[in-house]
Symmetry: C2
């Protein structure tokens, strides 16, 4: 049974500071009709990612900002309910940048088919999606961990962090996660991290000294701010810092830079930014390897699923309040 | 004619904020007597370097701090006036870490012989000394400029910066220097830089936009602070930032981190620290190549020579006030 109405969240204005519901318009319009080479997708799960906050800002970044009045950009998986491209059949499941809405029309070419019998659909938004790819390529290609290295990851219980830590374990590293609160720390220990630091209740610098007695060889940074500064004081020689994100700063009007960056000099260390899209041609390779690790039980995955498109603004805020454990996904429909 | 008295500057206390004369004791003691394998050097020129400020601080760095009561550490060139090592003859000129004093006893093995007939002695403290080596290896090994790249260097009229810019020109790059004041900017243009930005009188960000229309591929940072932040806004994709120093911050009690470091992510750029000592085994190779460039006129060198050991604290301050053009050297004796 298909509705004739499409609910959408459109960007109403550019947020100042913390994002809020009034930055969006929640609108109704008729379900669109696909043109030549296009398909109509009923969206089932929408990926909520820290990067979305950046897409809401004006100005130059790694992709153009979402325009005012446009449907908010988001990755999503859904089921094809009409197709004008013979390559995609009605009933198939697809992944793509489909937006925060119930129905999306998209070029069939821009979509990736996914199989819900292999892994549950939300996993395609998490460990086998952008966050997993970010973890895989950021850690392996930029962090370049060697067996025996000490790898620290912040946002350790998040969509990217949980994968970073488990891949580092697979590669023979000592892994320390930084996360907010006892539950998240328990979670990252339960998936094999050697230690977890609760930044809300511990002195991060002292805890790093304790858990990383030989210093930090690789730091995968999802958060920026004070935690980045604390890790900078504990680097090993030739340390590699992967700048993947800076969620602590995304809603700040005045960004705090890493005061201790001169530690890079002292330790001949590097701090390198990465954007997952650069590795798009190799997603297949990474997905195959990670699916293998999942099948063998070496890579566990967790999603935090919230129901209801209409909760989108508040659910997105869970990311910035640090309330999600695992990949945050918005469930829009059952099938 | 040799004095029997040795004047020395010893570290009296750890400076707080800007270094001052009262942080040192100016003392007299008898000229020391060399032991077995040692030589006595009459110091002629002392190298004054921004790094000296860091050596005065307590705490872990790339070399131990100068102890309270110890002669202030400094590179210097001088003439051997007594020798207990057959490998070094009286009358030869040597370079080493000899300290801020008139006479030094040192193991002959730790010294490098230099020839004042090839280049004037102060050049061995500048372009053919640590600053030149820092420029050479920092630019070529960490910055990795390619012909056609835009290379920006701060502290462009200083001992390191002047060499960085000229080597980048030799390698076929477009070179933009950042320096304080018209005289320094005129100087860097006179040695072949394509453009110079006077940070004291220009909007650095706007000037970078003008002079680096394709963005900054390599930034060699000697200064940190606001200039680093301005350059971060103008990076080209895959830019390399060499963190060589942060002179704007050395006398600050509260360091300002680079607020715009998330630009590393957007531009897939890196920021890497370097310490010249790591390249010690290759100094000879670099010195030979740079001496060749000097002989052919491609690499010009300038020193800012101040006379009188007793002026040491105030002369050192010239560095932090940005008053030197070219390598700052303290002249202690004629011969």
């Amino acid at each position: 049974m298909t509705s004739t109405t499409n609910h959408q969240f459109k960007l109403a204005k550019r947020p100042v500071g913390m994002v809020q519901r009034s930055d969006f318009d929640y609108t109704e319009s008729p379900v669109p009709v696909p043109g030549d080479g296009e398909v109509l997708v009923k969206i089932l799960y929408i990926s909520l990612d820290p990067a979305m906050r950046g897409w809401m800002n004006e100005g130059k970044s790694y992709i153009p900002p979402v325009g005012i009045g446009e449907v908010m950009r988001a990755g999503a998986v859904g089921r094809v309910i009409a197709s004008n491209d013979p390559a995609v059949a009605v009933g198939e499941h697809v992944l793509g940048i489909l937006g925060v809405q119930e129905y999306a029309v998209a070029k069939a070419k821009g979509l990736t088919k996914v199989d819900p019998k292999l892994v549950p659909l939300p996993v395609y938004l998490g460990t086998l999606g952008m966050p997993g790819m970010t973890a895989y390529f950021g850690l392996l290609e930029v962090g370049k961990p060697k067996a025996g290295d000490t790898v620290v990851v912040s946002g350790a219980a998040g969509a990217v962090g949980q994968v970073v830590g488990q891949i580092a374990k697979i590669k023979g590293c000592r892994v320390v996660g930084i996360a907010g609160g006892k539950d998240k720390c328990d979670y990252v220990r339960s998936i094999g991290f050697d230690a977890a630091i609760d930044y809300k209740h511990e002195d991060v610098k002292a805890a790093l000294r304790q858990h990383c007695p030989k210093g930090v060889d690789v730091y995968f940074d999802n958060v920026g701010g004070e935690i980045l500064d604390a890790v900078l004081t504990q680097l090993a020689m030739h340390a590699r810092i992967v700048i993947c994100g800076a969620i602590s700063q995304y809603n700040e009007t005045q960004i705090t830079g890493p005061r201790n960056y001169v530690s890079l000099l002292v330790h001949r260390a590097s701090m390198t930014g990465m954007v997952v899209f650069d590795y798009a041609s190799r997603y297949g390779e990474a997905a195959r390897e990670m699916a293998g690790w999942m099948a063998s039980g070496q890579l566990k995955t967790r999603e935090d699923i919230v129901e209801g498109l209409e909760t989108f603004p508040e659910t997105l805020l869970k990311l910035f309040k640090g309330e999600n454990t695992g990949k945050l996904v918005l469930k829009v429909a059952d099938a």
